[in-house]
Amino acid sequence: MSDLKHTDIEDGTEQITTDPTDAREKMRAGSMTYTLMPWIVGAVLLVIMPFIFTSNSALTIMNQMWITVVFALSYNMLLGQGGMLSFGHAVYAGVGGFAAMHIMNASDFFASFPLPVLPLFAGLFGMGLALIVGSFSTRNAGTVFAMISLGVGELIAACSVIIVAFFGGEEGISGDRTYAMPFFGNEFLQQIDVYYLTSFWVLLSAVLMYLWSRTPVGRMANAVRDNPERAEFLGYSARWVRFYSFVASGFFAGIAGGLFAINYEILTEENLNTASSGVILLVTFLGGVGFFFGPIIGAVVFTLVQTVLSLQTELWAFYAGVLFLATVMFFPGGLAGLIMMHVPAFKTGRAGTLVMPYIKTLLPAAVGVLAVSALVEMTFHVRHAATGDYDMTLFWTTFNSHSLLPWIIAIAVAVLAFWITRRNMPELRAAWATANTAREGTV
C-alpha cells in the first residue's frame, strides 16, 4: 500500500475538472492523505462493520455486498475503463466459482491448502476462460464485442444444463468449505470468519484493480476506450490493450466467483445466466462507470435494494427499474457522478451554502416519492390482494386500502410535497451556482 504515496494527484480524479494549482500543490507536498486515506477508511470500515451489524443475516448480506463489489469493479475494468460493453460477464465469475467448487470437492487437494487461498484458484480459472474468449472477442470494441459477449454468455449458460459433469445441471455443484486445511486453527464454520475472509479479498482486489488502472496498460485502456485509432499511432495495439484488460477483468471476476463459492458453498446455473450478467451491468452503471469507486456504491445500493427492500415490498424490482432508468436519464454519471459533482463546491469551501437548500428541496421530494410509492403499493394491493383482505400496512400504519381516506392523504401529501420541492428549486439552483462560481474564477 505504501506504493500509493507516490501516485500523482491527477490520477485520483480522472475525468473531472480539478483545480490545477491546488492539485499540484498537494502533489508537491507529497501528500499521502489524499490517496491513501480512502483505503484506510475502507479497511477500518470493513473491520468494524460486524461490530455494528452483528446478526448473521447482516453478515450474510454484507458478504453478498462485498462479492458484488469485486464483481462490479471487475466489470468496470471492461465498461468504464476499457469501453467494452459486455453482456456475458457472469460467466467468468461463474466458471471461477464452479472451478472453486470442484476444488472444494477434490478433498485431498483441498485439504492441502487453507481456504483463503481458494479465490486465487477461482481467479485463475476465470482468467483462463477470459484468455480463450478474449483471444477472438477483443479484436473489436463496440457492438461486435457486445454481441460476441452476449453470444458466448448465452452459450456457456446453456452449457450449464447440458454439460452436467462440470456444471452439475440445474441443481448445481455444492461442497463444504470446512474441509480445507485449517487456517491458524480456523475452519470457517461461522459467518463472521467468512466475513473477514471476504473482506480481506475485497480490499486486496480493490487495491489491485485500482493499481491496475495506474499501470501503463491500465492508462492505455482509457486511451483505447476514447480513441482506439489514436492509441494505435502511439505504438499500442488497441486489440492487445483490450485483451489485457479483458483477461485481468476475468481474473477478478473469477475471484468474485471464488468468494461466492466460499460463502454459499453452492454454485448453480444462476451464477452464469444472462440475468446475472445484466444485473452486474445495472449495478455498475447505477454506481457510475466514470469513477473507480462508482461500482462500489452501485453494489452496496443494489444489494440493499435486492435483499432489504425486497423484504418490504414485492414491487422491489419495479422500484429498482425506476431508479435505474432515472439514473440513466438524469445522472448518466451514476451515483458516483452525483457525488463528484459536489467536489468543486467542497474545494471552494462553499459546500455549506448548499445544505439548507438541499434540505428544503430534497426532504419534500423524498416525502413526495414515498407518497407516490404508497399510491403504487395501494393500487397493487387493491388489484392483487385477497378479497376481503382490505387491510394493508404501510409505513407502520395499518389501514383499509378500499376506503377513500388513505388515497386522499397519499395524493395530497404527494402534491403538496412536490409543490414545495418545486417552489424551493430556484433557491437550490441559485445556491448551486454560487457554490460553483468561485471555482471558475480560479481556473
Partner: protein, 259 residues
C-alpha cells in the same frame, strides 16, 4: 530510433504507389523519396488525394499497388502500431486526441511506449519521474503547462491542435507526419502553430500536408505538389512556385471552384 535497416536509406521511400476506391483511382503512381532530417511538405488543391496518400503511408489504407519503405524497410501489411514503433508518428486532419483524459495524461500516454513500458502491469505510471518530467517538458514546449490538468476536450481548437502535435512528437519518433496542422485556423493561430512545428521538429524528418502553399513556404526544405493523384512537381519552395504546371493546377482549381 530503432529498427533501421541501413543508415543511408532515405527516411521514407515511396515507389509506384497506387490506390483505387472502386473504379476511381485516387493515387495514380507516386514516387517520392524523403531524406533524413528533411522537412517536406505535400501540397495540392482540395481533393488531390493528399490525405489518402498520408493514410496509405501510415497503413490506415492498404495500397492497390506499390511500396512504401520507412528507413528502407517495407511497410506492407504492417499495423499502425507497428509502424509507429519503427519511428513514424502522425497527426490527423480532424483533431484526434483523448478528450476525456487530462492534457497531461494525453501526453504521458504518448510517452509510454517509447519509454519501454509496453503492456506492463507491474509499473505504476505515477511513480516514474521520467514520464512525469518528460510529459511536463513537452507541455512546456507546446505551451500548455497552464492547461495541464484540464480534460483535453475543453481546450480551444488551436490548443487541441497544439496538443495533438505534442502527442505526435512525444514518442520521440524521427519521422513526423502532420496532416493539415493549421486547417481551420485564423492567421495568428496559424503562425503560432507553424512556429511550434518548427521548434519541436528540430533534427527530425517532417512530412506535412497542406493545401495552402503560403503556409509551408517558410518551413519546408522541399515541396511536392499533388494534383489528381499524381505528383506534378517536387523541389525547393521557390522552384515549385515558379513551376508552370503548378501555377496552372492551382489556378485551374481556383477557376473550377468558382464555377
Amino acid at each position: 530510433m530503432n529498427a533501421m535497416t541501413s543508415t543511408d536509406a532515405p527516411a521514407l521511400d515511396i515507389s509506384g504507389l497506387r490506390k483505387s476506391f472502386g473504379k476511381a483511382e485516387i493515387i495514380r503512381g507516386i514516387d517520392l523519396s524523403i531524406g533524413k532530417g528533411e522537412r517536406h511538405a505535400v501540397i495540392g488543391p482540395n481533393g488531390a488525394g493528399k490525405s489518402t496518400l498520408f493514410n496509405l503511408i501510415t497503413a490506415r489504407f492498404a495500397p492497390t499497388s506499390g511500396t512504401v519503405k520507412l528507413h528502407g524497410k517495407d511497410l506492407a501489411g504492417l499495423q499502425p502500431f507497428q509502424i509507429n514503433r519503427m519511428g513514424l508518428s502522425r497527426s490527423f486532419q480532424i483533431t484526434n486526441i483523448f478528450p476525456a483524459m487530462s492534457v497531461f495524461e494525453n501526453v504521458r500516454c504518448a510517452l509510454l511506449w517509447s519509454h519501454g513500458y509496453k503492456y506492463s502491469f507491474w509499473n505504476m505510471v505515477g511513480r516514474s519521474r521520467d514520464l512525469t518530467e518528460g510529459a511536463d517538458r513537452i507541455l512546456e514546449q507546446i505551451n500548455l503547462t497552464s492547461r495541464r490538468d484540464l480534460p483535453a476536450g475543453v481546450l480551444s481548437y488551436a490548443e487541441q491542435r497544439a496538443l495533438e502535435i505534442g502527442i505526435t512528437i512525444a514518442g520521440g519518433a524521427d519521422v513526423i507526419m502532420l496532416d493539415e496542422p493549421t486547417a481551420g485556423m485564423s492567421h495568428s493561430e496559424t503562425d503560432y502553430i507553424m512556429d511550434l512545428i518548427r521548434t519541436v521538429t528540430v533534427g527530425k524528418t517532417l512530412i506535412m500536408v497542406e493545401h495552402d502553399m503560403g503556409v509551408v513556404f517558410g518551413l519546408a526544405d522541399r515541396i511536392s505538389v499533388l494534383v489528381y493523384g499524381e505528383i506534378i512537381a517536387t523541389g525547393k519552395p521557390e522552384e515549385v512556385r515558379g513551376d508552370a504546371r503548378v501555377q496552372e493546377a492551382y489556378l485551374g482549381a481556383a477557376l473550377e471552384a468558382e464555377h
